[in-house]
Amino acid sequence: MALTFAVSPRAASKARRPGPRGSALRRHLTGWAFAGPATLLVVGLSLFPAGWAFVISQAKWNGIAPATMVGWRNYEQLAQDPDMLAASGHTLLLTVLFVPSSIVLGILLAVALNQRIRLIGFYRTCIFVPYVASAAATGILAGFVFNPQFGAVNEVFRHLGIPAQQFLESPSQALYIVCLIALWGQVGFTTVVYLAALQDIPRELVEAATVDGAGKFRVFRHVTLPELRPVTVFTAVWQTITAMQLFDLIYTTTRGGPLNSTQTIVYYIYELAFQTQRLGYGAAAAYVLFAVTLLLTLVVIWYSRRRGAEVF
């Protein structure tokens, strides 16, 4: 989605008189003067911490006592760690539930919000507001709503004659409730993206299909949906990353409980590194997550390029 402004080839190929050495140096310096600050930022804030984290991932270190280098042992241990396996399972389930739901809901809401009706701006704002609210606030609010004893949802259930549920305090329900809260917060994002995409669909295509006798549903199925495909690749990758990195919501609702049933990989990394001070082991887990995310993204991009939809 990023725009790059490349120098036109003409400017580069403009013939230059071979000048003395000093001018070449000056040109280099000018170049670095432009690129320098940004390079420093990237190196200092991204590459340096990433490099250090990699070194730490090869060590047994608690941040206080001297570290011992252990090579790849942290990674070997991770492969056999039942907690890591469980956390991966939870992350996978969360992603599988969250990504398709947020896309389907996003498309449905975008179509609904693409109508010419009164107060449409207000409705659009309503859908987008939860996305702007901080996940921490969302989590705390949801904690009240889903409280088993005093929460609003159980109150509604009581009126409907449905037995009261434990929600976030039940190991079998908590992850689904977290997913639901995450959806509430994130669906505004996919909706806005799809709304923009819908408005980009050339009017002629829709009109041509209508003239050819296609009904509303057929237009949607054969014109609108294919036109949304490139955007869907983007939202799929983006929402997958969101689901895999979900932390603040879990921290404010369940802290990974009950019985670690909402402990995702990111939360487990936090636990390891900052609760039990196993910085090396936590860094190794973070690198595994990084590798998996990278791989997943590459697979989606490769697949979409093969299908002819270029988005990245």
């Binding site: 490099g51 060590a59 608690n62 206080i64 006592a65 001297p66 004893q149 409980g257 039990t276 001070q277």
Partner: protein
């Protein structure tokens, strides 16, 4: 653009210099305060780990000390937004070379801080007769000692005791708990106090899996004659450990008389609102109890076979070495003053904590304190029941997390006591030491 070999070399240099950041300074064996000149002008940094009222009191005491010793200036700050964060701040400080002279620390960090090589060895200092080391409770002294070396001075002592709601006992027609209660008595009372119709529970337990979950089990284990560690090997999955955990399990699973708190934060407010008959907690609960205006009283923990020992969770002042004998010596003198019976009365007693030294029991401040905080006398007496300390070894945090998970599983009926403790012991093997 750049020569790839040069980039590789630069990366290697970066990596090597990074690994250097992760090392600690070795123990030189020399006393940090050797050659200390008490009249030298020094500036000390003090991380109190306190907030609000306590922080204001700390600043007042630092100013008072400066008035007594004009050559010593103490820069006082909380150090972190909450005391839990201090370890992370210290670890960052060690890596960056800017850490305080004195910091608050939880007892469970002692092993790690000792291993850092940055904590002053205080063994000789505290054993000077002026310091009166033995006035501080035994369990707190053990916590400050790692491998026979004293690495910190206790800052705060506490312990777990049984707090009960008198009104609920009266309503159920039950006799109040006594210091001689057995765990069977506790279970029977919990069962009779429980009333699903009014959402009332006999007792409560945190199943968050944190240290709060874990350390409530240790007194039961010790009363049974069990041990947490045998050398560096986890020893809690013994028959004694299973018996201890079973005692809790029957209440949670069979009797359903135990409210299971998924956080650490709900069970005390529930007790304060009259929904729970008995909780096991420490003197820090007194402040909210008083605000809730509930009719309560405190007794020693129930016991097995007449053993009523409890667990203590002391906090520490750790003194960090900056290779400057004057700073090291001044920090020691300040902490000796801070933890003296006279100053501690203005510090711990004024803030509602238990007194640090046994001699304070005869002070007028202590008399005022017990009057102000009902039940505090019992907590003070209960210090004598704190006979063992949690292990001060590096790796305890991970062991605690594994045991906490095991307890949470058992109390929620997801595993048997033996299975869960065996699994926790297996996971913790090799982490300690």
């Amino acid at each position: 653009m750049t020569d790839p070999k040069r980039a590789l070399a630069a990366g290697l240099v970066l990596t090597l210099s990074l690994s250097a950041c992760m090392g600690g300074t070795g123990d030189s064996g020399k006393d940090a305060a050797a050659g200390y000149d008490p009249n030298a002008t020094v500036e000390l940094t003090w991380w109190t780990g306190q907030t609000e009222v306590a922080e204001a009191t700390a600043e007042k005491l630092a100013a008072e000390y400066h008035a007594l010793h004009p050559n010593v200036t103490i820069k006082t700050s909380p150090g972190a937004s909450v005391a839990d964060e201090l370890l992370t701040k210290l670890s960052a400080g060690f890596a960056g070379g800017t850490y305080p002279d004195i910091s608050y620390a939880f007892g469970s960090w002692a092993g790690d801080l000792a291993a850092s090589g940055k904590a002053q060895d205080l063994t000789e200092f505290v054993n000077t007769p002026e310091f009166k080391w033995t006035e501080i409770p035994e369990a707190a002294r053990q916590t400050a000692t790692v491998d026979g070396k004293v690495v910190a001075v206790p800052a705060l002592v506490d312990n777990l005791a049984l707090i009960y709601n008198k009104e609920l006992f009266d309503k159920a027609g039950l006799a109040y708990p006594t210091d001689q209660w057995s765990w069977d008595d506790f279970r029977n009372a919990a069962k009779k106090l429980t009333d699903p119709a009014t959402n009332t529970y006999g007792t409560a337990y945190s199943v968050s899996g944190s240290e709060d979950t874990t350390w409530h089990l240790w007194p039961l284990l010790w009363q049974q004659g069990g041990k947490i560690l045998d050398g560096n090997t986890p020893a809690f999955a013994s028959p004694q450990g299973v018996a201890a955990l079973e005692t809790l399990r029957v209440m949670a699973v069979d009797d359903k008389s135990m409210y299971l708190d998924q956080t650490d934060e709900k069970y005390l407010p529930l007790f304060n609102s009259g929904r729970v008959g008995m909780v096991i907690s420490g003197p820090w609960a007194l402040l909210e109890l008083k605000e809730a205006g509930i009719a309560y009283d405190v007794t020693a923990l129930p016991g097995f076979n007449g053993d009523h020992q409890t667990v203590s969770g002391p906090d520490l002042w750790v003194l960090l070495d900056h290779q400057d004998p004057n700073r090291a010596g001044a920090a020691r003198d300040f902490i000796a003053w801070m933890t003296s019976a006279e100053t501690d009365a203005k510090w711990n007693l004024a803030l509602g904590n238990l007194p640090l030294r046994s001699t304070e029991a005869h002070s007028p401040e202590f008399a005022a304190y017990t009057k102000e905080w009902p039940g505090s006398q019992k907590f003070f007496d209960n210090l004598a029941n704190a006979k063992q300390a949690r292990p001060t070894v590096s790796g305890y945090a991970q062991l605690s997390r594994n045991v906490g998970d095991a307890i949470a599983k058992v109390l929620q009926g997801a595993a048997t006591s033996q299975e869960a403790l065996d699994e926790a012991a297996k996971k913790s093997a090799g982490l300690v030491g």
